[in-house]
């Protein structure tokens, strides 16, 4: 074979391959088109068979014909379907579960649990078998409503979280904080807890705990008790940062409002020598730790 002929073959081979590929492509396109036409025709006949359904005001065809063939619940005797409705309905469903449990009917009897939004949250708890905790371990209409409401961020204080006996001054930085998680904690503090639970309000004041050596060794026990209190988030932060400060607390004058200092609030005592400095620090964005360190210097000086 001459070189010229070889060149012709080498040139023609790609043409054959291209033709073959284009033929395969045309075949695939034709088959795909035919399949889609057949599917569309079948779907249109199905839609026509359900044309007696009422108009629902939308042009979007359902993904599955209505009524859909039940498959998920096949072989299941009982299903529990829980709707959505925000935090309100979470609480409502939990109350409903608690009431049913009290009457001897439990969510556990359901073979299938279907939930939307709030129903999905409560349904997942029910599927995990945790709704019984509401009856066994939580004071349902005592502590639990406060616990649940404290978990919900709010833009404004409300009667469920805040029942302040006395208005207290706050640092400007904390007052204008937009942290949605911190906000309810700030609004519902020790005052709220104390007003809701008289027993809690009779607790020893932090000033007493820190200033009197006789009870300061009892700190760890109180730390545990307060951190388990559902709404006392400020007490939690106070106790968490007071491990160092309590070493020098015995030297602090008894008239210092330690609780206010630890919480980053301004002092309310007009005659307090540190008041202007605390105000200045608060204006500059001082936090509770900075104020408390100032107080420590102050306590060592006096």
């Amino acid at each position: 074979m001459s070189i010229k002929a070889r060149r012709e073959i080498s040139v023609k081979r790609p043409d054959k391959e291209v033709n073959y590929r284009s033929a395969v492509l045309r075949r695939d396109v034709l088959l795909g088109t035919a399949a889609s036409l057949l599917t569309a025709g079948r779907a249109s006949t199905q839609v026509e068979s359900y044309s007696t359904q009422p108009e629902v005001g939308t042009n979007i065809l359902p993904a599955a014909p209505i009524p859909a063939t039940p498959s998920l619940g096949k072989g299941k005797a009982r299903a529990l379907v829980l709707g959505g409705g925000g935090e309100y309905f979470i609480a409502w469903l939990l109350g409903f579960a608690h009431g049913l449990h009290s009457a001897g009917v439990s969510y556990d009897k359901a073979d299938v649990i279907v939930g939307t939004s709030a129903g999905a949250i409560v349904g997942s708890a029910a599927a995990a078998g945790h709704t019984g905790l509401l009856r066994d371990e939580i004071d349902f209409l005592g502590v639990f409503p406060k616990l649940l409401s404290d978990l919900i961020p709010a833009h404004e204080s409300n009667s469920s979280q805040v029942a302040r006996a006395q208005p207290r001054r706050r640092c400007p930085r904390r007052q204008h904080s937009n942290d949605p998680v911190d906000r309810p904690r700030r609004h519902g503090g020790a005052q709220s807890v104390g007003s809701q639970y008289p027993a809690y309000d009779r607790r020893p004041q932090p000033r007493t705990l820190l200033a009197e050596p006789s009870v300061s060794h009892d700190h760890d026990r109180l730390l545990h008790r307060r951190t388990t209190c559902p709404v006392a988030m400020e007490q939690y932060s106070y106790l968490a940062c007071s491990l160092r400060e309590r070493l020098v607390a015995r030297r602090v004058r008894a008239d210092l409002d330690w609780r206010s200092a630890m919480h980053g609030r301004c002092h309310v005592l007009n005659q307090h020598p540190l008041r202007p400095r605390c105000r200045c620090q608060a204006r500059l964005g001082g936090c509770a730790h900075r104020q408390s360190s100032t107080l420590l210097q102050h306590s060592e000086r006096y």
Binding site: P54, V56, G57, I66, P67, A68, T69, P70, G73, R78, A79, L80, V81, L82, G83, G84, G85, G86, E87, Y88, F89, A91, W92, L93, L94, G95, F96, A97, H98, G99, L100, S102, A103, G104, V105, K109, A118, G119, F140, L141, F144, P145, L148, S149, D150, I152, A154, N158, S159, S160, Q161, P184
Partner: protein
Amino acid sequence: MVALTDKALRFSNIPNDINQELSYVQAAGTETLLIAADPSKVHLLSPAEIEPALKAGRDRAVSEAERVKAFWT
């Protein structure tokens, strides 16, 4: 089925009411029991509604317990 509805038994932004939806499920051979929570006017995202909601749900469960028990047994 436990659902939060209005007085017309409608879900929010869905044109069909609950009875209509349930009729489709019943047509497939399923027995249904609807428990519709119908608070008059509440803020669904307000923490202030938690305690009333807990009590309302519990009271409703106490009143519906026999019906649910008979339905599930």
